[in-house]
Symmetry: C2
Subunit: 136 residues, 2 copies
DNA sequence: ATTTACGTTTACGTTAACGTAAACTTTTGC
DNA sequence: GCAAAAGTTTACGTTAACGTAAACGTAAAT
């Protein structure tokens, strides 16, 4: 059930080069098993790669992505560990929320502008000769 | 009413260096007026700088940010221009929506994990000796 | 059996996005 | 009136995140 993947399997699936995946390993983001020299990626490795790439799309550096992703495999044995983990999660959550605020602002900004453009176009198509009026 | 800013005014406000702002100018993202040699930034320049920095926080390169921001100062004189502008806006909007999907997934992912951590901690604090049970 | 495809390590190259320093001019505070 | 602060251009340096190429091992297909 737990699938195994080669480096080019994952490269194809996520549309990156093997070089990129090896680089992420060198940076401590993924740690695949080995069959001799060859890297063998588990389902969990695959998930981590997906998380790294999503982090990158959201504007995180590899180091920042690692900080977040590593929280998902942090030890949770003792209450103390759980409490510091919860603190760190809260800290990262705030960063994500900041990004959401930025993103929502960008989208609603664009939507308003788009609406104005549509209005203006409708104006132009209805009464093309008096179009200048709409600007007042 | 239309305020003027020096380069260090904006650098302070947005917590970047003057070098960064000059670099954005060299890349065509801002085009401040000049008083002799000195750059004079208008309110509109200031808005553009804010947009660039928000774009960066959302993971856009300067070139990508420029593509989006330039749409907000595109010519809208003729219906044809408005139509192609609306097409480009739609294209960029999809990119923003993709990011929002990524971001929502990241946040809800983290929230679920956080909830599990809280449960586990509550378990540990209530019956510390039988904590191992919670793992089954 | 030997291309062909895929894997490995090592190492140098590249690009974006600035940092840093020099050499100089222009304002501004006292 | 003059030192300190802020501005300018030019140019070289730096870092992250890979790309690219060489030189080599291995497995699969023809």
């Amino acid at each position: 059930m737990d699938q195994k993947f080669s480096i080019s399997d994952l490269a194809r699936e996520f549309d990156v080069t093997p070089r990129t995946i090896r680089y992420y390993e060198a940076e401590g983001l993924i740690a695949p098993a080995r069959d001799g020299q060859r890297r063998i990626y588990s389902g969990r490795d695959r998930v981590r790669l997906a998380l790294v790439l999503r982090g990158k799309r959201l504007g995180f550096s590899l180091a920042e992505a690692k900080e977040i992703i590593d929280l998902y495999s942090a030890p949770q044995g003792e209450a103390f560990q759980l409490r510091t983990l919860l603190e760190k999660l809260d800290e990262k959550r705030e960063i994500l929320e900041d990004k959401r605020r930025d993103l929502d602002a960008a989208i609603s900004n664009m939507d308003k502008y788009t609406a104005r453009c549509r209005d203006r176009l409708a104006e132009l198509e209805e009464r093309p000769e008096t179009a200048a009026e709409a600007a007042e």
